[in-house]
Symmetry: C2
Amino acid sequence: MSARASRGIVVSLMGLGFGAGHAAADEGMWLLTRPPVEQLEARYGFKPSKEWLEHIRRSCVSMGASASLVSRDGLVMTNHHVGRRQLEKLSTAERNLLETGFVARTRAEELECPDMEVNVLWEITDVTERVMSSAPPDMDAAAANTARQKAIAAITKEAEESTGLNCRVVTLYHGGQHHLYCYKQYTEVRLVMAPEGDIAHFGGDTDNFEYPRFCLDMCFFRIYENGKPLITDDYLRWSPKGASDGELIFAAGNPGRTQRLYTVDHLKFLRDVSHPDGLASLWRREVQLLSFTARGLENARIAAGDLMGVQNGRKARTGMLAGLLDPAVLDAKVADEKKLRAAVAANPDYRAKWGGAWDELASALNSYRGWHRRYAALEGRMASGGSRLFSIGRQLVRLAAELPKPNGDRLREYRDSSLDSLYRRLYSSAPIYDDLEINRLESAFSHVAETFGADDPLTTKILAGKSPRDRAVELVRGTKLADVAVRKELAEGGTAAIAASTDPMIRLTYDLDPEARALRKRDEDELEGVEEEAYAKIGAARFAVLGDNVYPDATGSLRLAYGAVRGYEQDARKVPAFTTVAGLYDRYKEREGADPFKLPRSWLDRKDKLDPGTPVNFVCTADIVGGNSGSPVVNRKGEVVGLIFDGNLETLVWNTIYTDKQARAVAVDSRVIIESLRKIYDADHLADELLGE
Amino acid sequence: MSARASRGIVVSLMGLGFGAGHAAADEGMWLLTRPPVEQLEARYGFKPSKEWLEHIRRSCVSMGASASLVSRDGLVMTNHHVGRRQLEKLSTAERNLLETGFVARTRAEELECPDMEVNVLWEITDVTERVMSSAPPDMDAAAANTARQKAIAAITKEAEESTGLNCRVVTLYHGGQHHLYCYKQYTEVRLVMAPEGDIAHFGGDTDNFEYPRFCLDMCFFRIYENGKPLITDDYLRWSPKGASDGELIFAAGNPGRTQRLYTVDHLKFLRDVSHPDGLASLWRREVQLLSFTARGLENARIAAGDLMGVQNGRKARTGMLAGLLDPAVLDAKVADEKKLRAAVAANPDYRAKWGGAWDELASALNSYRGWHRRYAALEGRMASGGSRLFSIGRQLVRLAAELPKPNGDRLREYRDSSLDSLYRRLYSSAPIYDDLEINRLESAFSHVAETFGADDPLTTKILAGKSPRDRAVELVRGTKLADVAVRKELAEGGTAAIAASTDPMIRLTYDLDPEARALRKRDEDELEGVEEEAYAKIGAARFAVLGDNVYPDATGSLRLAYGAVRGYEQDARKVPAFTTVAGLYDRYKEREGADPFKLPRSWLDRKDKLDPGTPVNFVCTADIVGGNSGSPVVNRKGEVVGLIFDGNLETLVWNTIYTDKQARAVAVDSRVIIESLRKIYDADHLADELLGE
């Protein structure tokens, strides 16, 4: 991270807002059912209508991260880095779409994606009452959590049966509210256009989370229904002129997870345990993947996605941890919590109902310190390193065990409402690379040995008397799970097939399952259960003391952020809001075109065709985090003016607290999208489709 | 690490040797006072004379790692990667010797090194009796260790006064013997020749510890005395024809640390605690340094040495840990230890004297698990990240505190025998780069916070209410210790000057000193003391049961290894012993000259001048480890045929156990040295000097 002015002053000012939940400046990831009407009116004189909000909601889609419908014929726009896993799956050693890019010249050339889902949020219902009343107040936290989970399973199943939509209950305010979200799901999706990787992520890891920036981080897919493009009126129109400096804009998407309402103890847990542990894993894996990719071009191709994910996660977590290690950030949180707790303590009724919540949570977190690594090993990636084969093995083992149970008693990812997606991934024909699988497993197995010691029963169970590498080779060469037909056979054969299987990956995941499940149970009972109850109380206290104009922390579901296109000042220099095509070529020249500042052939050959003044990227104050990648940026008319793909380094503290002195969301400008489609990619047909021509 | 045949079989065969200390094959890092006479005679029909050994001893020098005198006029040969810290210190943004290489066309052009020492081992005396008798048998381990340390200080001081040489006591067999080594020290050293970095470490981290290999990892210095080149007869002659396949060779140098005599518990401590911890630090730092160097060319230049060191350490430790996680390795150790302990248990006298040693050591190591990280933080690099300014601050603080004490009571690095070297480093004019210092300290401070939590008193003392970055900036910008005159003033001012100093780096290192010293004391009392006593007993037991034809573990002092030039088989392919100039250009072509497989201009322009059949690197079975870099490889006549610079991946297990199925030391061939001096570098004068022409 380069030298920056200290964030201290910025954050102290924010502290005056009394609680991050109380929006100051352009803060907030708002529910579309509870938009920031007062703030928009007061700050920008804008009042979104019900229709405006509904149109945004039905045009913005979820596909892991964020995306939007941008044409009448079902064209979907997202980031290149959001679509890249599909690009990988459509690539081979001979046809590397990540390197060459792709443009379908006709609809017939559009490439079918092997396992993609696009979800449109169709209906929202508040089910808080029904979920909460399923657990009487005198129940202990673990039993109450189980009761709520059963209620959620029942609500979801009923809704799916009555609507025919894909439904899930989203828990808001870490347990304060529960909303039923029902989605229209599309699974016939084709790739339409992707630029070359070198221009999509120009500047690579070096410029990631930085600004000024010059990335064409875009990618287009098309939704099909029964072999025909989806025809819809729920799509965003394209702004003919783009955004201007200072203009009000909105970003609608699916921010992943924030911790703005966390207690101070919970933030300290992140700071002292969770982030350091997470970073240690990422550093480790980044170095191993760099070594793996340096061994040859095919290695580099097949591991590029893993590497990019790890580097992005590392840079993000580094910034988040740095934020929590900045005393100004935590001091503001401490001051806010102190005020809220004092207000609760001063009111006997409040104190009786909510006063104990902070300590209950602290005690649960404290106990969690003792077993969180083991839980991560067995239920997280630590024991699998992201291995596809391991994950398939575990899914088969658990499917067999879960399916015979009543829906509400199952692990949540095996409930009826999740099965379609699960089978789609499980039976995906996406390629599995032995060398990468071996590398992932060797790394994961060694990680377990390093963490728990080689004599720990977990390690000896995993290694089975072999070295990490020999064991990884044995499993990958020995398993038949790369074959989709074998997976189907095992899935259909249920418990009997699993019990009889001699497949080494089935046997390993089966053997690990009892301890993994025990820790999963412990997590749900002792952590999640306590967390939800404590935050429900803290949330109620916050509403009572401070009013309820509070947005919930991000939950990976649709939110609306707003703000202005606006530059900032850094080290006494002005950083303008927009970058241009001319600036892109300057940056290329300055870094002598060395990786990761290479430009693809097309951009070198056609430089003179481009208008050098075309805006490439811009920054705005909209409140976004990881998961917002691919969010459309729209103007007051709801027209597309950009495409969110990143935030600068200063936004990394946004997971905990919003500041707008220097922190900015970064977007691709709608004008460079049209300019490059026409002049670099000879794709007038797509530009015309976007512009509705 | 690429796919390899399992090492299992190899190691099991070694197990038959009953203990790693019992040389099988070409095993052993032998004391020059106790050479492997029987083995050499039996295996190769060679009997080294006393003169042969003495000549080797006085021609081989220590300069951190290994080196040798190779001309009558004081020319010293070592590896480029051993000399690179001096090359860095002689470089600036405008004159980057690591990139361009350097050739002095005349003696007058030779460049004076700012702070270099070359040591020639002149005399060796066994002082075991005197050291051991200083601690009566009934003393507890801590007091005994203190007594031995005092005896060692007295012996060293006496020897220095009587001989005028630089002396130190080397503790062998982890406490079993103590030898007094007296060195002739030269401090006037000039740089004569270094090739470009791209050919010196061709293949970079990717090919590090690999074979086949194509590196010109060499570098030449010259010793001066009073402004004139050293004239000596103690130098190695150059072989006119180089080595041939199968030929007996020797490598004489200073292997750093091995653990071949470690108990199983001690190895498990390495496997489960020390290596995982060390690797975690290295992964972390490698990623941070890669980010730092990616920000610009000058960053890349100033951090290149740190990065190369970290990458080398990471690859080495990865291999060592992989070795310990290979059950075959540990099984062999367990079996050997079981036999030895059974033999001790079966003899009442042995049992009484030595039987408790294993458990005493295990118990000390077990307790060490609880505080080793804190010790590493305060006495190792964790709290300083390798910062020069931090290290200078600590040295000044400790100098002031230690110098007034009697010699024998001081921390060992502040005893009279160490002061010359200490002052040389402390007053070195080598450049200190603010940006790199800030990066090192920010990283180190964050590491402490991640390890102990941000609320730990150690963390709060270090951070002083600031974020890691702000604190690092404050210290680096605020301290005056980059100025050598300021250092001298503080060193000469003693305790009063330190107490009065407001320099922030002095204040920080001063404040950290009490806890650091307490942990240092604990380490000496509870770990080192117990270790030495336990290993003295285990060593005695080993000698009694198995005879004393056992070489001690490496201690960073002069050893003689022997073996044959010999290729090996891998994945059913023959790997020949020698690589050639033609192979170098093939490898360059195969990797399209992409970094780290670039070649310097000189090697591209003059390709046609070179004899493509010239051997570049070769492998041999000589038993070496880290620290042996720069060791000359000599033939029976004591003539130079090569220059050790690496081992292949399979040697990484050599820290624990020697195998020779695939594991090989890697050397630069003497012929490519002459060939490149003449045809690439126009340095006939140096080639002639080496050949004595």
